[in-house]
Symmetry: C2
Subunit: 585 residues, 2 copies
Amino acid sequence: MPTLRLALAQVNPTVGDLPGNAAIVREWSRAAADSGAQLVAFPEMMLTGYPVEDLVFRESFVAASQAALHRLAADLAGDGLGDLPVVVGYLDADGPARVSSEASPDRGPRDALALLHGGRVAATYYKHHLPNYGVFDEDRYFVPGDTLTVVRMAGVDVALTVCEDIWQAGGPFAVARQARVGLVVNINGSPYELDKDDVRLPLVQRRAAEAGAAVAYVNMVGGQDELVFDGDSIVVAADGTLLARSPQFAEHLLIHDVELPPAALDAPTGDLGEMRVDRVAVAPLPAAPAGTVEGGIAVRVTNEAEVWHALVLGLRDYVDKNGFRSVVLGLSGGIDSSVVAAIAVDALGPHRVVGVSMPSQHSSGHSRDDAADLAKRTGLDYRVEAIQPMVDAFLANMSLSGLAVENLQARVRGVILMALSNQEGHLVLTTGNKSELAVGYSTLYGDSVGGFNPLKDVPKTLVWKLATWRNAEAERRGSEPPIPDSSITKPPSAELRPGQLDTDSLPDYAELDAILAGYVDGDKGRDELVAEGHDPAVVDRVLRLVDGAEYKRRQAAPGTKISIKAFGRDRRLPITNRWREPSSS
Amino acid sequence: MPTLRLALAQVNPTVGDLPGNAAIVREWSRAAADSGAQLVAFPEMMLTGYPVEDLVFRESFVAASQAALHRLAADLAGDGLGDLPVVVGYLDADGPARVSSEASPDRGPRDALALLHGGRVAATYYKHHLPNYGVFDEDRYFVPGDTLTVVRMAGVDVALTVCEDIWQAGGPFAVARQARVGLVVNINGSPYELDKDDVRLPLVQRRAAEAGAAVAYVNMVGGQDELVFDGDSIVVAADGTLLARSPQFAEHLLIHDVELPPAALDAPTGDLGEMRVDRVAVAPLPAAPAGTVEGGIAVRVTNEAEVWHALVLGLRDYVDKNGFRSVVLGLSGGIDSSVVAAIAVDALGPHRVVGVSMPSQHSSGHSRDDAADLAKRTGLDYRVEAIQPMVDAFLANMSLSGLAVENLQARVRGVILMALSNQEGHLVLTTGNKSELAVGYSTLYGDSVGGFNPLKDVPKTLVWKLATWRNAEAERRGSEPPIPDSSITKPPSAELRPGQLDTDSLPDYAELDAILAGYVDGDKGRDELVAEGHDPAVVDRVLRLVDGAEYKRRQAAPGTKISIKAFGRDRRLPITNRWREPSSS
């Protein structure tokens, strides 16, 4: 059997940075060639970054992507890499975008793949299955391709596919079997979700069985607004055997020698019913390398480790790709701000993180102590700004009471953080967890101010688990646990009035999070939740809180998605909405 | 030729209010019957309101819609209206929702229409063309129908269709011609855009020609978050003659007698290639009424009047449907807050509007005078809250300068408005116009605080035109113009530092708005804008401002869409985005 040395380049492109992304392709193609690779594959939309959203409608951007692709092909040849087939994703268009109705074109923008070889674009493929659920809106943007591209190289037939093509039965993988290919390459921009890696390998194995071919799955890595791509690139044999696998959340060049069947000389081409098959041959290829290379199989990590790395990478890339030098956040001594501070320090280093303690008359002594302790443990830049003089100025000039006074304290803190941001250039981090966002347990323009929220999609019960995991991880490594124990163990409180506890107005977080997982993530109705054993009165109260807080979420900062359904583009509900789950049935 | 007395019920449903929406159908069906109507049609998704967004994924909500439909059919018969065919939109499902990939079901949620008659659901139809552009995400939600439903009533064949079906050539209207129907009913949830009414009539006429049949187009009216539905229901004859037309932005029962060809006894049924045709007959119908009724043709209004009514209705429905009793806004004496105050007073009456002047040391005398003058003209509840004591408290405790001090003033005003909202229960209105939102000329958590923004999609140059139009309209009616002349004529200023003018940092608004119309609404690139004659340096500067302000827009309050491309769900761009239009070519 012929052997092909594959390289899967699990890299971190940036949306809109065409020159920078092309430079990554050149650099990693060089590394792949140096390792003797005969084929290197980069992620979906490598040249443009992903997702580019409505930039698809900008003709100048489409033209720039096309031009960058051809320039890259020439540059690779100029780099002496003309023989190496390089698979890259890019934005193409063979017709105008569909920005309105009264036209059902079969041409338009394409989520495209190109195989670069010999200084030119040797083959292209247009993504066939377009996802239009969850965070994906690809029916808005792209016209689906209906032709499978098969490339003959070094005596082997390789089919080229993009992302969602692998998530659906039928289409390219079924046609690849008819076309009798030996290998299917699948390039991805597949965002992280908790447990998705557990789904991914069986999925790739099912498609290998469907295609009757080996599958090489390459995914990007890095943060893009609310998404974080986790990598986890995979090679499986035609029989489903896992051959090689990259780690998550890190750039990685996975190089693996794959034995493949020789190309069938009588393999069918042209119209195969479900799709057309186009065939291209590329030669010469880099010489068959000496020896054997195995990519290895990266070890899976725990859920807490996975989420922690996702949050660190999501924050780091948001900060760095948007050109911020530093972040600032309020430190209350509570668990949420402590965990965000620890994430920020892991992402950026302590010298790029400013923590501000903003005590009021209702702040307990341990709040200030815990905030200071956290600062000492992590080494971040610690400040104290008392809020009482500003709160008093408002109270002296306005007639406020009750909730208005509670919210005033949170808003004065928000003004302080934004003033520091304006004065010193920090990005403000906000720290409300998913449970709070769900029930609206926050002050709009108060503790919710900020440009990014690492905990936006993290339920409170998971926040505690992350803190415990991070501290244990530090101990395992022999370094100082960043989060004070008392921040983890004390009962949560907003400290906006004397003796206030979260449990005064919310159910126990274990119960709350279980209900939220059903209602928010699972779209379950009231009766289903009650049938699962939750207290009907608690369910009714939680559902009303969630429904009533939509207006707050609409103005919330972005934050890294880690669940199957994050607030934001993943869960789209009207603000004006009189539907309330019936409380009896 | 048989004559059918048609009733088009241009009504205002509320998302999620199934009992309330059903009550509207019963009330207006009664009114239609009292006018001798033999067929009454209500808008798309009448029972659920539109758009319901991810409520589609809630099985309890789908079941409630289905149950409400059957209850309504029975209730109409109980009301003595069993003979009257009633066409209503609702949410149906014949399979589970597609919330992930790895399944391409041909069953699932449906954007459905039912014809109610004789106490039961006599016929149903599932929307065939699903819009997935602009603000629409219907591929996310619905499975398209592939069967055209034709109902024989009073000797006439009537085809039933939904909204987007009329916006695309081919499909239901083409099949309606094959099926030789006399009338096509099209029920809509079609959001307002400036000039859309000018497109709508020719569109309906084209489809009448395609179907070779009369067309009855009924649209809803009212506000739903960022959308406002303008009504504008239309009846045209098979030859395209406009027979009757409802006004925009008002509930209206359009009743019109339409002469229709008798049903063809040999008309085809079953599989017609592009779609199936299902036929149903309903009888008895209400007796042919005596006399003739013509619905009349509502007069078109100017663009300014159209937009003003859209903004008034959009605000009123947001406030009322969300249960607010009153609104509060800051009054600077400038044009934006003056126009929002006048809109709010028109929408809610002066007793439900609180205006707060919040002068600082940089506020000019005319600012305070103009704010007080506006309050006097409109009769709104006027307050004054000086910001200096609170600003001074921050300045005494923090070391701030420059932009941080400017923004501080805006944020203290934001805290004051939110405190009044918490204390007294008002919805806060924010007043940044589309031009400011585009270039980021606002303070996040400062002047941008608020739950709704009537001017969000109104460019500054149009704000001035609206003010002039509203004052002229007042004079025409013999009432007091609400907006002080000097608010219209003075040069715009944020008044955050001495002598500051908008033109210090922005181009002239006429030039700015022309560039924004091309870049934001038209997706034009830099070179196209320069080729249109704009100063290259100004274009470059404006584009950079727009690109850099995406993070602010992501946290902006909702506001009524009036343009072809509003910020929000209509224009989706990444925050993290290094693409900048090349400044030379």
